[in-house]
Symmetry: C2
Subunit: 241 residues, 2 copies
């Protein structure tokens, strides 16, 4: 790997679920609210975890072509339809399920995100690079005030991360060489795939992604990233913004 | 055509060249600056007009598959390489030509645009829907402060307007039915194509697009659009924002 020169960076692309927003708390909040309205008791954080856990195998089926390409709203909905009876949350109308499915559009950023992004935006192009679908990312940004210059989504490429085309096409669309683009993520596997396409990498661990005391299975291991930062404000400082 | 109910609109998608930004003045400004640096005299507005005129046939060759799909930066560059000798502007280095080619990234909005977009953004999702490539649209927005929620470009679809897929895919990506999306353009032909895909339409004439006293060849004719507004501030008022 060539030595890292931060002055070559022109754009930052961000993983979103877990890296920018706290999906677990946000989804659990809306699950708990629906359960309360039904007068049933549900372990809402466990529901959120199960929902998130179902996402990877569903996406992999789409990636391997075993099911037609489906966006995340669609994958989330099919997982939700299995989880509702399993968790005893019902009966739920189709419209109520749709509203709950869109809890993924209503997630809050981690506390450092807005000030970090505003600082980074003064010097770099900042964009999502997420498996979330466009409408989800746009609605999330509008609600939370995320100041993206551009919303790039796997949906535009009909490919999901970690497929290499997602990373290389993102750099190309932004008009930069891969080594001018810094992928920011809390997930080492995402960063490793970005490295494979020639992007630079910033690892921002989010130890609370799976709740207190629940470490992620996605470990750094032997991997080396260009930047490690504790949060987005720290990342902006390391990039001299 | 079903009667128009503005309360059904959820998103506005905007043509950019001519509708949002004044390409003629911006391109002519940079052509004149380069000519001055070379000590040559060039009719800069005529250069800008010729550049813009070359864009449609070049794009149509790409649309018909006669040349490989090429983004607007690429099409602009090949037209520029023909225009430089024709207008006696030279010798020009490859780097100088690249910088001039990016004059299309440095265009200024019409005077009403920023306040109109900020008003519209409070109630609607606002996005580009332009044949301009993503990098061009992102750079333009960052320089001019255009507050897009999303940057949608023909480049993402590898299709150019007025191909119907561009309009229908844009609505789909934003998560809305075509009739919930309002296409805003200064060009009746663009709006007619959007109507063909089921979008709603707002015509915002820009009488100075081709300079004073140079009417566009693209006429309204018998066409009827849902909204006609004199500028984006007026458009926001008509949509009750």
């Amino acid at each position: 790997m060539a030595s890292f020169d931060p002055t070559q960076i022109r754009a930052l692309v961000f993983d979103v679920f877990g890296t920018v927003v706290d999906w677990r708390s946000g989804v659990a909040r809306d699950v708990a609210a629906l359960a309360a309205s039904k007068g049933v008791r549900v372990d809402a954080p466990a529901f959120a975890d199960a929902w998130r856990e179902g996402y990877r195998p569903a996406m992999d089926r789409a990636r391997r072509g075993e099911i037609a390409w489906t966006n995340i709203d669609g994958l989330h909905r099919s997982i939700l339809d299995e989880l509702l009876p399993r968790f005893g949350l019902g009966p739920v109308s189709n419209e109520e399920a749709d509203v709950l499915n869109r809890s993924w559009h209503r997630l809050d950023p981690w506390p450092d995100v807005l000030s970090g992004l505003h600082a980074l935006r003064t010097r770099f192009v900042i964009s999502t690079l997420s498996n979330g679908n466009v409408a989800l990312l746009v609605n999330m940004a509008k609600r939370a005030g995320l100041p993206w210059d551009c919303v790039l989504s796997a949906e535009m490429f009909q490919k999901y991360k970690p497929d290499p085309e997602v990373y290389s096409t993102a750099a190309q669309l932004l008009g930069f060489a891969p080594q001018q683009v810094l992928m920011v993520a809390a997930h080492p596997s995402d960063l490793a795939a970005a490295q494979g396409s020639g992007l630079r990498t910033a690892y921002v661990p989010r130890p609370l992604e799976y709740g207190a005391g629940e470490p992620s299975a996605d470990r750094v291991g032997e991997r080396v990233f260009d930047i490690v930062a504790s949060d987005f404000v720290e990342l902006a400082k390391q990039l001299n913004t």
